[in-house]
């Protein structure tokens, strides 16, 4: 009986990895070609893979929720075996339950059979002494003066790729090329809880994992700094209260957000760098002359950022209506993919929940994100130098310091402050 390895195929023309969504077989199970095997989610789609051979499932080498690189072995199948043959009875199970879906994940994995996802760097070189590399890569290495024996390849079977060479070149010293490939951080594994207490385990995948990846990438790439200012919104509150009544009949709920969006556009017109992104591959600073604002929206599944396009070209009432419709669509899960793309800047509104100010995480690769906070009744000092009851709101902006310096961010915030404290400016516009 031969055991065949099943490697995760490239099911979508050029994908790098896939997430195991659910196994449809268990170790020891007799299978036929065409039986459902495993459901895999890639950047492009979630697809069902069927079993390629008749035989018995010998081993599943990764768990549901694992993200595995294409071409890594995810299962072993004993071809032609039957379930009751002696060889098949030694089938080994993966650490946590694989057949009973998410509920199985509630039990802590037994420490005896840890399954680690083979990260690209973990591929073992085919044989010591020989170096795998395409002719073009060899030539490039010669030109760069890099000894291929000292490079750790990240390709299949340890093959050295052009990217690996770039990694070596990027190191300050070539004397230590072993450090060229950054070893992936070892996954933290939590021990089983002490007796008598209860823990719950939920799969870390799907949307939660996507959010996690986006946030980590932003924090690890953008050089965040946060700038906070208070805005005396007394006049804006009066204006909005009046507008709310005037539009009540037309079913449009006029909120503060459209005014703030317009003020942000005014700030960007004066400081265009605040509406930009860095094209790292091209080494170019891309300033956007269109104003598409993502609105961070809280849903049951997690954070979603639908985009309002061309904010500069829409009236405050139009923006209010669009926000209203988009919020409903987002919460009901009706928001289309085109409504989630193309943002140039993001606004996160925590004003209705509470708090004073925050340090928002940039929606990378955008350059900045604005946090909008609750309007509070606060004593303020008026023009005559007297203390009076006022309405004050904090705005926090996190900016990528790689692209924009503090002074620019502060001046940009001053424009917004000026617009919101004197909202007639928003209505009349600039000359």
């Amino acid at each position: 009986m031969t055991i065949k390895e099943f490697k995760l195929p490239d099911i979508g023309e050029g994908i790098a990895e896939g997430e195991i969504v659910s196994w449809k077989v268990t170790p020891g199970q007799q299978v036929k070609e065409e039986d459902e095997f495993v459901e895999v989610m890639t950047d492009k789609a979630t697809v069902m893979i069927t079993v390629p051979y008749d035989g018995v499932i010998k081993e599943l080498t990764c768990k549901e929720g694992d993200v595995v690189p294409v071409e890594s072995v995810i299962a072993r199948i004993e071809v032609g075996a039957t379930a009751d043959s002696p060889a098949a009875s030694t089938a080994t199970a993966v650490s946590s339950g694989v057949s009973s879906g998410t509920s199985a994940a509630a039990t802590a994995p037994a420490p005896a059979a840890p399954v680690s996802v083979p990260a690209p760097a973990a591929f073992v070189q085919a044989s010591p002494g020989k170096v795998l590399a395409a002719p073009a890569t060899r030539r490039r290495a010669r030109e760069m003066g890099i000894d291929l024996h000292a490079v750790k390849g990240s390709g299949p079977r340890g093959r050295i790729t052009n990217e690996d060479l770039s990694g070596v070149a990027a190191q300050p010293s070539r004397s230590a090329p072993a450090a060229a490939t950054s070893a992936p951080r070892a996954a933290v594994s939590l021990p089983a809880p002490p007796p008598g207490v209860r823990e719950e385990r939920r799969p870390f995948r799907g949307m939660r994992r996507k959010i996690a990846e986006a946030m980590s990438r932003s924090k690890q790439t953008a050089a965040h700094f946060t700038y906070v200012d208070d805005i005396n919104v007394g006049k804006l509150v009066a204006l909005r209260t009046e507008a709310k009544q005037q539009y009540a009949d037309s079913g449009i709920n006029i909120t503060y957000l459209p005014f703030i969006m317009k003020a942000v556009v005014a700030g960007m017109k004066q400081f265009p760098d605040m509406n930009s992104a860095l094209d790292e591959a091209a080494n170019e600073f891309v300033v956007k002359h269109y104003y598409n604002f993502g609105i961070a929206t809280d849903t049951e599944q997690g954070l979603v950022v639908p985009v309002i396009k061309d904010v500069d070209q829409k009236s405050i009432a139009q923006l209010a209506l669009e926000l209203q419709e988009l919020a409903a669509a987002t919460r009901e899960g009706r928001v289309g993919i085109d409504q989630l793309q193309g943002g140039t800047f993001t606004i996160t509104n925590a004003g209705n929940i509470g708090g004073l100010f925050a340090t928002p995480v940039i929606n990378f690769p955008e350059v900045a994100i604005l946090g909008v906070h609750a309007i509070k009744n606060t004593p303020v000092i008026n023009a005559a130098g007297e203390v009076e009851a006022g309405k004050v709101m904090y705005l926090s902006v996190s900016i990528d310091h790689r692209l924009v310096d503090g002074a620019t961010g502060a001046r940009w915030m001053n424009v917004i402050k000026d617009c919101l404290e004197n909202p007639t400016r928003l209505l009349l516009g600039s000359v």
Binding site: K7, L8, P9, D10, I11, G12, E13, E34, K44, A45, T46, V47, M48, I49, T50, V51, P52, A126, S127, K130, L132, P135, R138, R157, G336, I337
Partner: protein, 385 residues
Amino acid sequence: MAAPTRKKKKSPGKKSEATASGAQLLSVLNDDGSAVIGGDPGLAKETLLSLYEWMVRTREFDRRMLMLQRQGRIGFYGPILGQEAATVGSVAALDGEDWIFPALREGAAALMRGLPLREAIAQLIGNEMDRCKGRQMPCHYTYKEGHYYGMSSVIGTQISHAVGAAMAAKIRGDKAVIAGYLGDGATSSNDFHAGMNFAGVYRVPLVMICQNNQWAISVPASKQSASETIAIKAEAYGMPSMRVDGNDVLAVYQATRQAAERARRGDGPTFLELVTYRRLGHSSSDDPSKYRDEEEVKAWEKRDPVDRFRRYLSGKKLWNKAKEEALNQDIADEVNAAIKAAEAAGPCAPETLITDVFAEPTEQLREQFAQVEEVNREQTGEFPL
């Protein structure tokens, strides 16, 4: 987009010649499998059964190939589920000498013309059994002996190729008619205008067959064109056209037959819009759930071309459950055997890397190949050549 049921008119099945307006939908089969009054083309029993068998074979081949792709056994695949009638009906209505210029979803035409299943699968693998020697993307079959032209991937280019071939056929005085296929997306290409214009002006022996499957990858037909139908576009080129129920194999057969006869008589080109629906993704790399509603797919499932035609055959007492089971088994065996045979073939010889571009490989090519071989020797068994 209009639901498919709204597109169907109650009695459009008249055997009219192609109309210039192209707004009416030609349909023969009712949903219950009966033929509309006066619409049955009265084909011989053998022809009817052969149409059905090819539709079933096409569907099984398609199902298995998508599965092989998911298992990593072939490169990629462009499924045709739900469009079987369009290819099978139109190809069956042509003469064997007629040339086929396919687009992405007419692979079944090559099989109907005699390309062995195992060679089609070898093309998807790209091994030594593949006529393209692994140099073409999967689904880009070629079969010269069967007058099936190798397809170019670029949208709309097939139109120019087909029209060019039709002009050549006319100049040479060939009897052959050219069938040129395109999708709804290709009607927005430059080649569409150039090709249609030449075809109209030179009155070439051509049948342009547009499989309007409602989706050009993620672009719906409603965003493809502001025209009321695709068929009416032909009017601008002085070409008669017909709008045909593409999930009705008899209507497709009948319309293609008329158009081909017209071309053979020397009366010039005809444009056919086959209204159908792509039920799966554009290719194995596409996820249609990201851009379209599942309800729409469900509505079209009810108009499945294979089911409709099976009901027609059953109604004529030409088909029953026992025959269905026997056919399914035969075809499953046939496809399985073909997969085995195709997978048994080895990879293309490394030398084929430098052959076929020049009659004799140039000095430079030979030198480069020697370098490749050198590397290969250094890494015997580890470099996949």
